[in-house]
Structures are given as structure tokens and as C-alpha cells.
Symmetry: C2
Subunit: 556 residues, 2 copies
């Protein structure tokens, strides 16, 4: 920070303190350091963190930022690990953390929506619904239950259930503009309009999209659609064992999604992605700081019963619907792999078996039981124990369980609870290009990226997420030992290379980390120019998140 900036920043902070109170600003110390990091290797150092408690406080902060020309970077909870967490594209930003604004303002049972503030987490919303509105389910991501529902939706993150396109299920926003005004999109509830949270498009130009993946406003409240609890539920595990079945299996899944037979998100992971969740085993190998050899991978996959590709999705409906869908799914997919459907009662029995087996592991009968279990289910006990978490996740119940992958190469194992990979110095980065949902597009991306993992000596970890029946995310994870500068440099180089390679092939990321935001829109120059014009019209001082998603450069 140069002296001129410092004096402006200090003057701004003095004024902001009057708004939020001394305690709601962090400028240094342990609390600062805990928030200033991410799992990605290089982040820009914030100038501080501020924690407003209301929309009025947010407005006041924005006005001060305009007065002193300091830049703000809003986050809801800052748990966007691997994408930059609570850090900005540029150094010296004041991070506006909205976590204190965490009220669930309304739940409407009939119309199945809630109105929430940005600090509301998946865990909080889920618990609240279970206790007060058990007939409504929410969606969740497979990351931390501490993640923000609105933050993820505005970032256009993806969940698990039929409500997995989180931005699509956002309806009715209140935002503070970069010049300090408060705006409601669509039908304005302040004037008594009734359809703010039920009619997404509103009347006149549809402007809600301006506030997603952008720097055009700070969303302070929003409507979010919830799923009426289905009469019955079944999770589905679909495993593809052979390379030649991967492409046709993906095409069959697209057909099922297009027909609406599968309406939930579909998540898939390659063998490495599954092994990384079973991290304590993977860690023994990865300590070598080299990728698994083919033999090691084969050995681990055999030991646990991990397939080449593993797909998860859920079926939600009346029993007769689920019966129909199961038969249609079997018809499409049986030729390409193995299918396992699990209902709640079946899962309860499986859980009892697993509990018994794990408490009798050391006894002879326990060992025989485990072998029998492996024989019947094709899975080791350790792997099978993942099942209930996956099953519940598809019911929108968040869990930390899967976040363990972030620790797969960390110096320390994942804690029993309260996982926070940024705090725990895990090395993790994501690259997430979107592709048209065909097996052929998948193959192009996979075959273009995998060699670079080999080149940079990293384990090729790929998961797939449905955006809609026509588009898929090929999410690639890079996991590395953050304490090892050489490995970190390789991770960085690989990430850069993946961005280059996939953009050159025409696959834009569905979501980007702050590190890759500069230049992100260079492949769409006309669109970038339009976004810049809008930004200048709404934020003449460029104080709000300059450079976010490649729009408007850093204001010096």
C-alpha cells in the first residue's frame, strides 16, 4: 500500500467504524490471517474485513467507499475454497463479509419458497426447515454446511437435487447498488407487489442476472425456491467400469435428463476423485508427492471397490413414479454399467450392518462378515460408509464428509469436524469448464487435460456436474502439498495450462476463481465490452469488486 492509498483507506475505515462499530472491522492479527487465505496458492492480500449487520450498514459502507475511492469485495460467508475464498482479484480490497446478515425472513409452505439474507448457510436453512417446515426440502452443495445459500446461488453454483441450479431457483433480489441505492428486482415488494418471490422474470427487462457472477451490486436479501418433500425418494449409484462405456453412458444419461426421467443434478467422479474422499488411505501414497502409479491406482481401486466412473443422482416422487423411472433408467443404462438404487429403509438396514461390522472388525466373525459384505456389495466397508452421506446429500442434507478430499495431500489429516481447508493450509484449486452434455465433448476435454496432469505429475481428478440437461461441468481438481514450493509451482502451472487449453477449445468455465478472473472474458470481446459499459454506468468510481469475472479493471 502506498502512502496516499493508506491515508484514504484509514479515513474510510474511521468512518466505517462509526457505522458498524469498532469490533466489526478486522485489519490484522490472527483473525485476519485466518480469513485472508485460500486453498489456492496465491491470493491477493486484503486490506481488511468489515461485517455489516443490515442493508443500511451496507449502504453506508458503499457510500464511504465512493467518497474515499476504496474498493470493496463482498462475500457472503467466504467459504468459496479453491476459487479464492474471501479474497479479491487485486490487493488492498476491503472485504465486506455479510455473515452477520443471517436471518431467515420468511418461509412460505404453500408456494415453497424462503426469503433469506446472504449469511444464511445450508446447514442453518436445513436445520430450520427440518424443525419448522418438514414438508420443504432445500438443496445443498457437497462442500461445507457453512457455505452461504445466496452466495453460492449468485456464483451460479450447483447442488444435488432437482433444485441444483441454484441461480435458476433464486427469485426476487434486493441489492445495494455501487452508488448506494437499494434496488429490488422485478416486482418491488416495497410497493406491495405480490409476485416478487414467485415470478422470476417480473415485468420489464429481466435484471436479476446482472447480480450473478458480477460486480454490479451487493445482494442483501433474496427469495429462494424450496422443494416440496417428495412422497418417496431413492438414490441411485451408477458405476461404469470400462473405458468404452463412458461415452455412451454419458449420452444415455443426457437422454434420461432431457426426458425428465432424471430430474436431480447428476454428480460423477472418476476413480481418483473417489479415492481422494477415502483420503486417509490415499494419503499414505500421496505423501510421496507424486501421482499414483497405474499399479497403485489399480490396487487402491480393487481394495475399496472403486469403479472407473461413479455417478450419483436421486429420484423424487410418488412410489409409482419412482418405479416407472427405475425401469426406464435400467433400460438406458444397464448395458453400460451397474446400477444400485437405495431407498431410506434399505439404507437404514445397510447402516445397521455397517455399524455392526465396524464394531466387530477385529473379531473373526467380523472379518468374515466384512468379506461377505465385500462379496455381496462389491465395496469395502470403508467405501460403503460413504453411502449414507451421499444418499442424504441427495435429499439436500449438507455434510462435511466429502470435504475431506481437500485434505488428501495436506500435511495434517482432516479434523473430525469443523473442516476448513483454507485455515488448515490444504492445497486445492478448481478448474470448471462447461461443455455441451455429450460424451464426445467430455472426451475432448478429458483427453486434452489429462496429459497435462501427467506432465505436471498430478493425479487426474475429474468430477462431472449437470448444469441442465444440455450442459455439463467437467470440474477438475488440483490437490497439492502447499508447504512444498516446487509442487505448488507445478499446481499453479497446471491450473494455468488447463485454463488455456480448455478456453482454446471453446469451453468457458461455468464459474471461475479470482486467480483466473483477469482476462476471463477475452474470448468474448463483444460481451466483455457490453459488461464494461454497464459497469461504468452503475459504478462510475469502480469501487465494487473491480475485476470480478473479468469485468472492469482494478481501480488504482
Amino acid at each position: 500500500m502506498d502512502a496516499e492509498f493508506s491515508s484514504r483507506f484509514e479515513a474510510a475505515i474511521a468512518k466505517i467504524k462509526q457505522v458498524v462499530g469498532e469490533k466489526q472491522i478486522i485489519l490484522k492479527g490472527e483473525a485476519f490471517e485466518e480469513r485472508a487465505g485460500d486453498t489456492s496458492p496465491k491470493v491477493q492480500r486484503p486490506a481488511g474485513f468489515v461485517f455489516p449487520a443490515s442493508v443500511e450498514e451496507v449502504q453506508a459502507i458503499v457510500k464511504v467507499a465512493n467518497e474515499f475511492k476504496i474498493s470493496l469485495w463482498p462475500v457472503s460467508k467466504g467459504k468459496n475454497w479453491g476459487y479464492g475464498a474471501a479474497t479479491a482479484v487485486h490487493a488492498g480490497a476491503l472485504i465486506v463479509v455479510l455473515e452477520r446478515m443471517n436471518r431467515i425472513l420468511e418461509v412460505n409452505e404453500e408456494l415453497a419458497y424462503t426469503i433469506i439474507e446472504p449469511g444464511v448457510t445450508y446447514g442453518q436453512l436445513n436445520t430450520y426447515l427440518k424443525e419448522n417446515h418438514p414438508h420443504l426440502w432445500t438443496d445443498t452443495t457437497d462442500s461445507t454446511p457453512e457455505g452461504s445459500v445466496l452466495g453460492n446461488a449468485l456464483e451460479r453454483g450447483l447442488g444435488e437435487t432437482p433444485y441444483g441450479d441454484h441461480f435458476a431457483n433464486l427469485c426476487g433480489l434486493e441489492a445495494v447498488m455501487p452508488t448506494g441505492e437499494r434496488v429490488c428486482t422485478g416486482a418491488s415488494p416495497s410497493t406491495g407487489a405480490k409476485t416478487w418471490t414467485t415470478h422470476k422474470w417480473g415485468t420489464g427487462p429481466y435484471l436479476e442476472g446482472l447480480f450473478s457472477q458480477s460486480n454490479f451490486g451487493i445482494v442483501t436479501k433474496a427469495g429462494f425456491w424450496l422443494m416440496p418433500a417428495p412422497e418417496s425418494f431413492s438414490s441411485m449409484l451408477f458405476e461404469v467400469h470400462d473405458e468404452e462405456h463412458v461415452v455412451p453412458a454419458l449420452n444415455a444419461l443426457r437422454r434420461l435428463a432431457l426426458k425428465g426421467v432424471i430430474r436431480s443434478n447428476i454428480h460423477a467422479g472418476n476413480n481418483n476423485a473417489i479415492l481422494m474422499i477415502l483420503h486417509s488411505y490415499y494419503r499414505d501414497y500421496s505423501k510421496k508427492s507424486a501421482p499414483l502409479t497405474k499399479d497403485e491406482q489399480d490396487h487402491l481401486c480393487n481394495r475399496f471397490g472403486v469403479a472407473l466412473w461413479t455417478f450419483n443422482c436421486g429420484l423424487y416422487g410418488a412410489p409409482q413414479e419412482i418405479r416407472a423411472w427405475k425401469s426406464l433408467i435400467k433400460r438406458e443404462l444397464s448395458a453400460h454399467g451397474t446400477i444400485l438404487f437405495m431407498t431410506d429403509p434399505k439404507m437404514a438396514i445397510a447402516q445397521k450392518m455397517m455399524t455392526w461390522l465396524s464394531t466387530h472388525q477385529t473379531s473373526f466373525i467380523g472379518a468374515v462378515g466384512a468379506k461377505l459384505f465385500r462379496k455381496v456389495f462389491g465395496k469395502s466397508l470403508e467405501y460403503a460408509q460413504m453411502g449414507p452421506y451421499q444418499h442424504n446429500l441427495l435429499k439436500g442434507i449438507p455434510t462435511e464428509y466429502f470435504l475431506r478430499y481437500a485434505y488428501c495431500k495436506s500435511a495434517n489429516a482432516a479434523p473430525a469436524q469443523g473442516l476448513n481447508p483454507a485455515r488448515d493450509h490444504c492445497g486445492e484449486m478448481w478448474h470448471a469448464p462447461a461443455i455441451p452434455f455429450t460424451g464426445e465433448h467430455f472426451k475432448i476435454v478429458r483427453d486434452a487435460c489429462r496429459p497435462w496432469y501427467e506432465h505436471y505429475r498430478m493425479d487426474f481428478c475429474m468430477t462431472l456436474l449437470l448444469i441442465n440437461p444440455r450442459a455439463l461441468v467437467t470440474l477438475m481438481g488440483i490437490f497439492f502439498v502447499k508447504e512444498d514450493p516446487e509442487e505448488t509451482a507445478r499446481a499453479n502451472a497446471l491450473h494455468k495450462k488447463l485454463c488455456e487449453v480448455t478456453l482454446a477449445l471453446g469451453y468457458q468455465p461455468y464459474r471461475a476463481g479470482v486467480a483466473s478472473m483477469p482476462g476471463l472474458l477475452d474470448s468474448a470481446p463483444d460481451y466483455k465490452e457490453l459488461a464494461h459499459r454497464l459497469k461504468l454506468a452503475l459504478d462510475p468510481n469502480l469501487i465494487l469488486a473491480p475485476g470480478r469475472y473479468g469485468v472492469a479493471p482494478f481501480h488504482p
Copy 2:
């Protein structure tokens, strides 16, 4: 037109002629008059019509408009009858008709989308698909097959099938900005991006919404999602006969839509709405230029077998899915009315019966047959003949059949084909408030509006259209004898009153006619202010459709 405007306009036209050619401009004469009207009573007189053939010609026209500060009003086909058709909010606009840009540029069978130009009509797209890609269905409205697919989607019109939210199924736009630049939303295909037409949200701020119900650009091309033909199909007719069942029936339908049991749009009409389609009978009464008395209404409803409320929707899926849905629908709805499911084979048999009966009407056996038919189906032959059109409409097959309602009070009966209510001087206006989808909200709107129909001596004609499972349009039609100034004045007064009454209750229109556009956003002042700022940033000369949807006043 004052002299200063005239000279600017003439200079602009001279330049535009060099772009499109003399023949592609209409400034007066019969062709002008045919296009300059609408079914609504008062429209602003355009200065002329221009018919560009390419995006380059559109860009050139926009540049000339900026040079001479004349205002443009783009329409795709101009068939937006009852909402203003091809006329602007203000007089003196040059109407840019995009009907010559009518190429179907691509159809992708695997990913089920098409890329089309704004001149492509429902009829054209449907015929093209039936001939070349029979496994893909398109949606349609129940208005003319001559309507523009893109025009309706940008207007956020609603169709019939599960793809009935036309704007939601738009993915990837090319637009000419008000300053002449060409922009693609989301992933830019010009740079080789692959997800332009499959990933609606793209990367960075989602800007596609800027081009719907707005004046921010002229859309020249877009991706539009198509429906894979289902394995089987059944239409559903659900009739509610008693007042006390209307509210619970609507709530039951919402639950079915929220659960995804009914995935198509749901259309409903009250008794008058159905009688107006059976127009040649209705016309005998309406010639009195007074609303039906209760006795007349009862008599007509009895004669034809018209229920208090009639709902139509479709079921699309594999036979086992449709079986499941039928049972779930019966469970929810049976208590509230009568349900009739029709499959293609059943409809074919019914059609044969109807053909036989209508050719034997005068014979004794024909008369007995008609009576028997009425006894079995509860419908007169004339009414039952509507069935196949409705059934096909739910399969996305457009028809002029239902457009006959527009002629119900016209001096002339509807022609056998080539219906054009604006040309034929029919009197028709729409008012279309959106409401949260509950029976209670429906009741509030109906009970607030119906007395005004009585007050202004018009038949209360209300139809319902699903926007999504949480929002419904209560579409009210006003039909009047356009040649009668007194009745036209009443129609106008009623329309104005309905707008006032529903806005005061907090129900914004899902879509508006040009007549009600000024002041449309006054109930959402913060949102209006934001839209104005964006407009000024994108269209500094305010040449593009000033005043459209209440955004940016007329430029003098």
C-alpha cells in the same frame, strides 16, 4: 409530424433506402394501413415500416437512426394482437419488421435445440421439424401459427407444453445494440465457444435478460431449446362445475405442478372464454352489444356442455410414467371436477365419430347419434370438435382455430383461414396480471375485476396460464365492436380500470400492451430508475423503442 422531424425522418429514410432497397420500406398506402393497426382501439401511428434482411442491414439502420435521431421500434412479425401489434408507444416511429430474417440456421438433434432468426414462425418451425427432425417437438402459443418464435420468447410469452416458458428456453442471443454494435450473450460463438446454445447463464454476469421486454437491443438470432418427442402423450381435460371447487382445484393443480406430476403449461378458461371460441353461436347474442345475461349464459353452456372452468394440460413420457401421473392426478383432482384423458389413438376414434356425425347431422340416425354423443361425452358435437385442436396444441402443433375468439364480436365472421384480427377490425384487448399460484390470489383478482366488467357491460372473459408452478397469469380479454364508438370507449375505460385495480392490489402484468406501457413501472420506482440508467448507458440518443415497458421516455 412537425417540419423539423419530417426533414430528419426523410433524410434518414433516404439513407436507409440505400441499405435495404426501395421496396423494403413502406411509408403509406394499403400495405401501410394493413400493418399500422391493432385490435386495441387506439394505437400510435407509425411513420413507416422497414424490412431488413440481415444483421448487417439492422446495424446500418440503427446507425442511421442515431445519426438523424429518429426512433426505431423493432418487431419480429408484428402479430402481437391485443398488445399493440406492430405499433409503438409513441407516434412517428419507424417500425423495424424482422420477418425477412426467417432462417432456421441449425437444428441439433442430440442436444435438442435450434438456432433461428426472428422471422421464423411457429408454423414454419413446426413444419420444418416434422419434415426433417420428427423426434423434436417445438412449443407453440394458442394464437396464430404466423407468430414469431423469438418475438414471443423475448416478450416472455407462454406456450402449451413443458417448454411453455419461452424465455426460459431461449439460450444464446445475438443482438444489435442501440449504438450499432453486434453482441453475443454468454459464450461468444464468434470466438469458437461451444456452449452458447446449451448453457444459458454463460460466464460472468447473465445479460440475456436485458433483451427481454426491453429496449436495450434488437435480437437478430438466438438458440431455442426443443423438446425431445416423448414416447407417448396424453392430453387432459379437467372441468370444474361448481364455484366452491374452483379455489381448491387451483390449489390442487399447484401441488401437482410443484411436484412435477404436471410439467406442461396449464391453460384454463372460464365459461365465457370457451363460449367465445364457439364464436358463431356467441355472435348471435353478442350482436346486441351487451353482455350475456345469466340466463343466456346458462342456456349456451347447457347447449354446448361448457363447464364453469375448463383446464387443459398435457402428459409427456413413457407409458408407465403417464400411468403413474394419471393416478396421481385423479387422486388430487377427482373431488373437484371431471377429468378426461385423451391419447392419440382415442382421439383418432373420436375424430372419426365426429366426422361421421357431422356428415349425418340432417338424418334421423345422425340426430340420434348426436344425442347419444352428447349423453356419453357431455359435450355437443360443435364443442367436441374443438378437442383435436386442443389435443394437438399440447403437442406443440399450432392452429388458427382458437384465434376465432377475436372475431366473436366483429362485424364479420372469422374467415376460414388466414385469420388476422387486426386487419379484420376485430376489437380485442388483453390485461394479464401475474399472481402467486394460489386459489386465494386468483379469487382476489377475479372478484376485484369481474364487477368492473359488469359495470362497463362487457362479458367477463378470463383465462389462466401457468408461468411456473409458483406463478399464474390471470389473463383477461376484452372483446368489443370496434365500429361502435360507445362500446369502444367502454372497452378502453374497462382496460384502464383493470390495470389500476390489479396494480393497486400488487399484481404486475406478466406482459403489457403498448397502451399501458407508460407508467407501467411506477409501482417499482427503484427498479425503474435502474432500468433507466442502463438504458441511457446503452442508448444515449434514446433511438431504440423509447418508452417500451415503461423504460426511457419518448425522445422528442
